[in-house]
Symmetry: C3
Subunit: 226 residues, 3 copies
């Protein structure tokens, strides 16, 4: 990540690791998969958002294929989650916290990467959100869950807030470690408040959706994929 | 869209808007989603096909990220559909008509964009079809429906016809507003005839497919995702 | 495929053809689709992995859009499978063998293509695996099955072995027809042994996964998507 302060590279690597952990734990809970399946899903969660971002901004091959540390940390996170899944799999709290950390860090770094590649303000914010939610969405599609971003308590909104703060800070030339950490913290806090208080955004006014099909999944389902 | 007649840019923007409407309405009907989920699916439907096309032809960042109007119209269409979903959600007709308009416009513009980027004849036709069906396919995957392109009455075929007319017109140097509108009209008419008369292409000869699994979805299901 | 020995180009074309056959047969068995759906899925299976690989290494437009033979062979394979599906659809053996051939060939050629485009050792191995499993994974997502790579007997591992042999041979300047065929054979044999003896990698230690949801699919299910 050229031009990014070192602390943010560290955050990026931490985000990769915790998304690897989180993706693998989600996979263990949602489907009976072998070690290859679990590690594949952990790595998809950790690396997917960044790969989509890099392809869309034209930074090809993506950073994941240039810097072995992303690959190594995603793999390590997924493998650790697999090994410890007996202890971790039923714990909601660490999965949710890991996910919120990754979401926050990736939203900020996705937006700043897009700005550094000369994209406009709105596209950079959008790419921040895509970076943050992309990996988890790929994972959910592969294990046939409705993606978290579509059905959960406040999930895309905190990422959007973090990306917007980042883009504003870069635009006004005040981006640096404090601004980045502030954006990360804002996303993390909003996300955790959403989880804690079960906040949901409003559904469509007055519509009673049709739940006849087997492929409708009410969002109040107790299994949660984050 | 450099080099495209102004009318076609207008058509492209109209197609983006109606796909935003259509994708959001489909989302409202298929799953109980909040406003972020509905708008996300509307924008995915409206922008997904063009983004896939631009990545495959090497026009990166994709047009969506360069021209804010695509983004704005997709967002507006999705938000309007969300707000009006009480009135619109049970109406089959507008969803189907919006979808057919988007399908027709995107097939023509996808094929002409590919030709302008020096792709060959067959790849340009294929990219026209991918542009037309790509966004809706992403949407269907995210809400766990078998994509319309795989199971519905004539859906890919009209897009193929429109893309082929477009490519032929460009190849023989007669492409312009009349040819483009003719191709759009051909796709729209074939698609609407397919819907009206429930036309389906033949299934495999003599095979009784296995419907034992929960993930098989017979195409005669009454819920229709367009 | 510049710089690849002619035999390997032949193998690549064979792999494309058998993946077209295989993808279409899988589609016929899994869902009641019309001819467009079956051919679309066959072509997605045959071409998807290579397109993803080419986008990620920056070879855009992808080889599929430059060399009409890939397109033609994928189409032919899918159409033949559709026409003969009455006879072929219940036969496990040819589907599995075709799939193992495609998997082996694509893993080798994916890895060698990545090396030729100056990617590092680990990314090249990863891209070999992605090339091999990408098309089938797209197909499984479109027909709403948990992808084979996540749930089946040894599937990603043989592709990983073939890609690693290929990358090692290129790295030590001994790559050529014998090395490539050796890598293909290694993958094919490991895969077929996995199928024959139902070998599975270990699941997570001591976890009893939750199968309450309709979207969990135990890997011991009799329907197999390869």
């Amino acid at each position: 990540m050229i031009g990014e302060p070192p602390l943010l590279l560290v955050l990026d690597l931490i985000g990769t690791f915790v998304f690897g952990l989180n993706g693998a734990l989600t996979a263990v809970r949602a489907a009976r998969l072998d070690v290859v399946g679990v590690v594949t899903l952990g790595m998809t969660t950790a690396l997917g958002g960044g790969i989509i971002r890099d392809v869309l901004i034209g930074f090809i091959p993506p950073a994941t294929f240039r810097d072995w540390r992303y690959f190594a940390l995603a793999f390590a996170g997924a493998l650790i989650a697999f090994a410890l899944s007996r202890g971790l799999a039923r714990l909601e709290i660490p999965i949710t916290v890991f996910d919120a950390i990754g979401l926050s860090v990736f939203a900020v770094l996705g937006a700043s990467t897009a700005m550094r590649h000369s994209l406009g303000i709105a596209p950079s914010i959008l790419l921040g959100v895509v970076t943050a939610v992309g990996g988890g969405t790929l994972r959910d599609v592969l294990i046939r869950q409705i993606p978290t971003v579509l059905r959960s308590e406040l999930y895309a909104i905190p990422a959007l807030v973090a990306a917007a703060i980042t883009v504003a800070a870069i635009h006004f030339h005040v981006y640096g470690v404090p601004a980045a950490l502030g954006a990360v913290a804002a996303c993390f806090v909003i996300r955790m408040l959403g989880v804690r208080f079960g906040l949901n955004l409003p559904g469509p006014p007055g519509v009673e959706p049709d739940f006849g099909g087997e492929d409708s999944q009410p969002p109040q389902g107790t299994r949660d994929s984050q």
